[in-house]
């Protein structure tokens, strides 16, 4: 959808664009330029205009340098490779072939997962899971995998992930072509032409029931929005992983391009993104065709909360408090404050811990409504949004304020919109 939007809008005629005059006025308001820049542009243009009037054909301007830093949809492809290369090159360690995150123990579940070993037949590679942060309702899924090779350097050589030159080229391509209207197929062809496609960058896979990921590398995240720090890289990778799972929920467009940017995909407002807990959630790490699969389901601790006269579906896991309001709640007159008409008027949530301290959470609200647009759109929308009967569903999501997960055992109760919720028996 986003890809389509971009293509259609770029094809807009000047007449069609004129209908957006007000929006363009606003856009122009904050535009700034120095007098020197204006003078240079003026001089350049006047020279061209002069040449043209003399019937000299002005050839189009070629780009003069090869190294540019574009913000790019394809860049994550390069980054995935760079993360691998960077680590292997930095450590020089034979037994650390591939590690996607540099952040050590990330998970409240690590103790259980740590030590999970998989001996792959017909080879001597062993993969060990270092840490897993699965959070079924929220935004964080991180996997750290270390590969141990009994054959030492020989195996590393065969795996051949370590090639700094390759990664720089790959990164450069992502930067150069990320904002072009090149399709994913064309980009893949470009990589093949450059001899850069044969690397198995799709090594991390998430599967949830029938849904499986295939290409987590082709996401539309704008790279520069993540800081280039271990934490930033970790976050970016986690988002890419999560998007790779959730995009399986959406129809892909004709070019099979993932058309949701990562931060849309992880948007808790898109309810279809929720992982189906009734199905196994599996992380698979593949190195040179060898794979390790871990079913994360047993490690996900989600607890139900209840309150008399409260919402029916309230859960909390390590990283997410979630309220899903539906028909049964509405029938009782219970609604979340979704902030649609007033962004400050949204539902609140406070955790009360057993030791007496409290934690106010920042809530993220979403809703689904069926609203008809009438002739007088603004009036009708206002009226419709004030009418609770148009609400199909609502959702509240809140995450820990800091980086640490919720300490579920220490929670006494949670107050949501003034109602006290406690763990269900």
């Amino acid at each position: 959808m986003e890809d389509k939007l971009k293509k259609l809008l770029v094809g807009m005629t000047a007449d069609e664009a004129a209908d957006f005059e007000t929006s363009l006025d606003e856009f122009a308001d904050s535009a700034e330029i120095s007098e020197e820049e204006t003078q240079r542009i003026l001089a350049l243009t006047m020279r061209k205009a002069g040449n043209e009037m003399e019937n000299t054909i002005q050839t189009s301007t070629a780009i003069k340098t090869n190294k540019r830093k574009w913000s790019k949809r394809f860049l994550i492809f390069g980054i995935a490779a760079a993360a691998i290369v960077g680590l292997a090159a930095a450590t020089g360690a034979v037994d650390r072939v591939q590690q996607h995150f540099s952040g050590g123990d990330l998970s409240p579940y690590s103790a259980e997962v740590l030590g999970t070993m998989c001996e792959v037949s017909n080879d001597d590679i062993t993969l060990t899971v270092n840490g897993v942060v699965p959070d079924v309702n929220g935004t964080v899924i991180s996997v750290s995998v270390t590969s141990h090779s009994k054959k030492g350097e020989e195996i590393v050589g065969e795996l051949n992930y370590v090639n700094g030159k390759m990664s720089e080229e790959l990164m450069d391509l992502g930067m150069k072509y990320g904002d072009t209207d090149m399709t994913e197929d064309e980009y893949i062809q470009l990589l093949k032409d450059e001899g850069l496609y044969e690397h198995d960058l799709n090594s991390l896979q998430l599967r949830n029931g029938e849904r499986a990921t295939d290409q987590h590398v082709f996401t539309w995240r704008e790279y520069e929005e993540y800081p280039n720090t271990p934490e930033g890289i970790q976050e970016r990778e986690a988002h890419a992983l999560y998007s790779s799972l959730t995009t399986a929920n959406f129809e892909r467009d004709e070019s099979d391009t993932v058309f949701f940017e990562n931060y849309f995909v992880i948007d808790p407002f898109v309810m279809e993104n929720q992982i189906d807990l009734s199905q196994p959630l599996i992380v698979a790490e593949t190195v040179s065709g060898l794979s390790l699969e871990i079913d994360l389901t047993p490690y996900i601790d989600t607890r139900r909360l209840t309150a008399e006269n409260g919402f029916e579906d309230v859960t909390i896991s390590s990283y997410t408090l979630m309220v899903k309001a539906g028909e049964n709640d509405f029938a009782k007159g219970l609604y979340l404050k979704d902030g649609m008409l007033d962004e400050n008027d949204i539902s609140t949530a406070t955790i009360h811990y057993k030791d007496g301290h409290t934690e106010d959470l920042q809530t993220l609200m979403s809703y689904s409504r069926s609203v008809e647009n009438g002739d007088d759109e603004e009036f009708d929308r206002e009226t419709a949004f004030n009418d609770p009967s148009t609400i199909d569903s609502q959702e509240l999501v809140a995450h820990p304020n800091g980086e640490q997960p919720f300490d579920l055992d220490s929670i006494d109760y949670i107050v949501i919109d003034g109602i006290e919720y406690r763990y269900a028996e």
Binding site: M1, E2, L5, K6, L8, L9, V10, G11, M12, T13, A14, D15, E16, A17, A18, F20, E21, T22, S23, L24, F27, A28, D29, A31, E32, I33, E37, T38, I41, L42, L44, T45, M46, K48, A49, S60, T61, A62, I63, T65, R68, K69, W70, S71, D179, T180, D181, E186, E222, E225, Y263, F264, D267, F269, V270, L364, S366, E377, E378, R381
Partner: protein
């Protein structure tokens, strides 16, 4: 000077008129170019901006300076020029077949686009502006938020919701 006065000046004295258009709109055009060619050297961006004004000059001359919206025409030319620059880059790298290289974006009305534009207008403000900035001009959510005095999260929410509404409207319309 109003846009009508600018266009009148351009009709009477093309060079003087062009100079006045640059004086008034160089910041606006450069804002688009900076977004589209983010990270590109300054001189290339200024070169691109001058191409945009030349494109505007030619278009205005062709239609006898009867331009419905100066800003809109400049924006369309700027967006396309920047796309062309990237295409040229591809061509120089030998990645685009010569016969495809000259393909220009269609000027003809496109049913899908008309439906999309109609749906965009129906989103109302500020969503319509947000979508134009995001998908036509290519602004990042954080930049849109700063321009419109919103939180980035709010912009993202509006886009997320707007996409769902657009999808629905287009499904119904087709």
């Amino acid at each position: 000077m109003t846009d009508n006065e600018l266009l009148s000046l351009m009709a009477e004295d093309p060079q003087e008129g062009l100079s006045a258009v640059i004086g008034k709109y160089s910041a606006y055009v450069m804002k688009i170019v900076r977004i589209k060619l983010n990270g590109c050297p300054q001189e290339d961006m200024e070169e691109a901006a001058s191409d945009v004004f030349m494109g505007f000059f030619r278009s205005a001359q062709e239609c006898g300076c009867k331009v419905r919206s100066v800003k809109a025409l400049l924006a369309v030319i700027a967006v396309r020029r920047c796309a062309d620059i990237l295409k040229e880059h591809l061509r120089h790298a030998g990645k685009v077949a010569e016969e495809d290289a000259g393909n220009e974006l269609s000027e003809s009305p496109d049913t899908q686009r008309i439906e999309l534009l109609d749906a965009l207008h129906k989103l109302g403000e500020p969503d319509c502006s947000i979508f134009l900035r995001k998908y036509f001009i290519g602004q990042k959510s954080s930049e849109i938020a700063a321009d419109l005095s919103m939180k980035t999260n709010t912009v993202d929410k509006r886009i997320s919701r707007g996409l769902a509404r657009l999808k629905e409207m287009l499904k119904e319309g087709m």
